[in-house]
Subunit: 223 residues, 2 copies
């Protein structure tokens, strides 16, 4: 039964979820909010949906780049290197980005007769992003359920999984991780040193899965 | 203290709230979701913010017209006449429209250092719109508070007021109701017979305030 809209960033978490739910997904939605890495994320999302024969919508949110503040919108040089835990990672927050994406996903789901939204948020998502926390997810799920005719369900199947578990799961599903993109700097290769790249490299290492990603470097700048 | 972002449709409820909160409002935001009446709503919103010297942002949401289904997006002929209570009013629902607008308002508030969103939803808002119900408002307020650094407050000062009370309040504040627009059909004059026009006429009558609105007719078609 095709009952699901998936929020597909083109990163390895959401592409793994796409593969896991390929029989249920009626529509994959990628949001273009003008991030440094938007074009490469969208290309990765499109490559995977095309291979699986799943309709793919890209929703432009130009107002975010025009009116919001975040280093994620200001070019590669503005993106800090290192672990998410660091204080400077706060600069990469795009205010209420997940809330906006989920609200639009809810409207699209209801418009398309779909009663479920699948989201690849996971246990490793970061407390520096208020709209990645479980309490936010629960409140937003209530809002989406109550604010739609169909009582649309916001479902996060990876909520209890860490990123290494997702890498292992994706490998078992045949995901080609070279066709997933997550670097905040948006270069042709993953930089290897920003928050998402650091996390990505560690997840493959912890999972014991060979990392096919081409990185510019695995040494943080200036160290 | 300028601590507030207001969601300003340009209708009489939100313009009255704008006047009531003119000393607190740092930014007024109008969403252009391609509705039949968008241009006239936006003009009304702009006229009032210009007079009060309040910054006004119009956020284009072209994806709604392109991808959502609603009679509100399909031209005047698609809009039903009569009371909101009628079953056919469901066709005017834009799925999760309020959820989308509030999510974007939350991101804009946080980006602009504003910790409060003022919304003119009121006791007469309609149960046929799931995202106008108090339960939805409460859940969305939780999501906005939890999903922002500042714990942005979603505040609906008119939540307990009916539309007649708002008309009386607006009149006392000096609102020029001729510069508010709400007709779903989007004509130069208010049609007088769609759901919002019916409600508008009744609110002035109940309030005992002279209605300065020019209507095309006050007789429903075909009666």
């Amino acid at each position: 039964m095709k009952d699901t809209l998936i929020v597909l960033s083109g990163g390895l978490d959401s592409v793994t979820l796409l593969y896991a739910e390929r029989e249920r997904v009626a529509l994959a939605v990628t949001f273009d909010y003008g991030a440094n890495h938007a074009a490469r994320e969208i290309a990765a999302a499109a490559a995977n949906t095309a291979r699986l024969g799943i309709p793919h919508a890209v929703i432009p949110l130009s107002f975010i780049r025009e009116r919001f503040r975040s280093s994620l919108l200001e070019g590669a040089a503005a993106v800090p290197d290192g672990h998410y835990a660091a204080e400077n990672m706060k600069s990469t927050v795009v205010p209420f980005r997940n809330g906006i994406m989920l609200a639009i996903a809810a409207g699209l789901a209801e418009s398309n007769g779909l009663a479920r939204i699948a989201l690849a948020s996971h246990a490793g998502d970061h407390a520096i992003y208020p709209d990645c926390r479980p309490e936010f997810d629960a409140a937003m799920a209530d809002a989406v359920r109550l604010g739609t005719w169909a009582g649309v369900l916001l479902d996060a199947p990876f909520a209890q999984a860490d990123k290494a578990a997702i890498v292992r799961f994706g490998a078992s599903l045949g995901v080609d991780f070279r066709e997933t993109y997550s670097c905040y700097k948006g270069g042709a290769k993953h930089c290897g040193t920003c928050g998402t790249c650091t996390e990505r490299r560690e997840a493959f290492a912890l999972a014991g899965v060979p990392d096919p990603t081409e990185y510019e470097t695995t040494e943080p700048k200036g160290e």
